[in-house]
């Protein structure tokens, strides 16, 4: 699967099958600071994601 991480601008490709919460854990991203979006759809922590998916990991904090 592919995860595009907004805060760092990184694109990470890795093999994964599991929940959004587990995916964020693998990515080392703090769950309370992000929203995960797939095809414009907001995902919750228990939604399944897998190798065919591309997700955007949006940072809650911005501005300054």
């Amino acid at each position: 699967m592919e995860a595009r991480i907004e805060q760092t601008g990184e694109r990470k490709e890795f093999s994964f099958s599991g929940s959004v919460a587990a995916m964020l854990n693998v990515l080392g991203v703090t769950a309370s600071t992000v929203l995960v979006v797939r095809n414009g759809e907001l995902l919750t922590s228990d939604d399944p994601v897998g190798d065919d998916d591309t997700v955007d990991v949006l940072s809650v904090v911005s501005g300054g």
Binding site: E6, Q7, T30, A31, S32, T33, L35, V37, G40, E41, L42, T44, S45, D46, D47, L58, S59, V60, V61, S62, G63, G64
Partner: protein
């Protein structure tokens, strides 16, 4: 994970589907306006709310929801001259307002921020605050009050900052109040930052992801990180801390908001604890240097 209506949830805490979540945010904004500036909801009134817009998600969502609620709005933006940041957010804001038929007024600081900080010998955040506050307080033709996009996380950070600096009595001053002729309101102050981003995603509001180059390293930044760590370890801690400090400052309100020591600037008429406010002092320095 499902909403109480049985549809798939799009958000957690509260766990709601798209339709119920959008209503939850819009109702919170409506309640905020009712609480802080009910005149804006009077049918047939000529009230116009000036929304202080940065081009970020919070103020853009506030502008969008107020507009959707049929409250007359004007977008007010301050251009402090921060290259690579403010120009990007202003471009987004111009397009956002143009496509929705919302008037946008942009005020420009007298010099770019980097020039002002060198000239005044103060930190960028201090200088930016002085000019933004003054220019927003001026309002504009026909504007009845100023609404800012401060959210629950911003408010919690500000209150904790005051506690950390030993000035917790200042927390009541963060509550909506009148500055010079215009009242300042914060209709989003009970809505978490994460919920605001979710609303933006669900309604197709796509502000650029960009952070002010001067933001990192500030004390607020450290408190934000502390709150994130606390929330991870103890979910719901932020809400509980906010509720505690909110109750305390509301109880402190009348005393802390007394006019003692807070007068009016003799030059510009805006609130100031000194005879001349920080903005007028800064402008004197700017003019002296040409």
């Amino acid at each position: 994970m499902n909403c109480h209506c049985g549809l798939k949830a799009v958000f957690e805490h509260p766990t709601l589907c798209k339709e119920h979540f959008c209503s939850y945010v819009e109702d919170a904004v409506l309640e905020g306006v009712r609480r802080e500036f009910p005149e804006a909801l009077t049918a047939g009134s000529d009230v116009v709310v000036g929304v202080a817009c940065s081009g970020g998600k919070d103020s853009t969502v506030l502008l969008s929801v107020l507009h959707k609620l049929d409250i007359a709005v004007i977008a007010l933006a301050i251009d402090e001259g921060i290259p690579g940041y403010r120009d990007v957010t202003l471009t987004f804001l111009q397009e956002f307002c143009a496509t929705r038929g919302i008037t946008l007024q942009v005020r420009v600081a007298p010099r770019p921020l980097s020039t002002l900080t060198t000239l005044l010998g103060k930190s960028p955040c201090t200088v930016c605050g002085i000019f933004r506050r003054h220019l927003l307080n001026e309002g504009g033709p026909g504007i009845s009050c100023i609404a800012t996009g401060h959210n629950l996380d911003d408010e919690l950070q500000s209150m904790l900052l005051n506690v950390a600096l030993g000035q917790s009595e200042q927390n009541a001053r963060l509550l909506p109040r009148k500055y010079s002729a215009l009242k300042r309101i914060k209709p989003l102050r009970m809505v978490a930052e994460k919920a605001i981003l979710a609303y933006a995603v669900l309604t197709g509001i796509t502000p650029p992801y960009i952070e002010c180059p001067h933001a990192s390293g500030s004390l607020r930044w450290s408190i934000r990180d502390l709150m994130t760590a606390l929330e991870e370890q103890e979910p719901g801690a932020k809400l509980r801390l906010h509720a505690f400090l909110e109750e305390e400052r509301v109880n402190d309100g009348p005393a802390a908001l007394s006019p003692v020591g807070h007068g009016i600037c003799a030059q510009c008429g805006q609130p100031s604890s000194q005879e001349s406010c920080a903005y007028c002092e800064a402008m004197r320095e700017v003019m002296a240097h040409g």
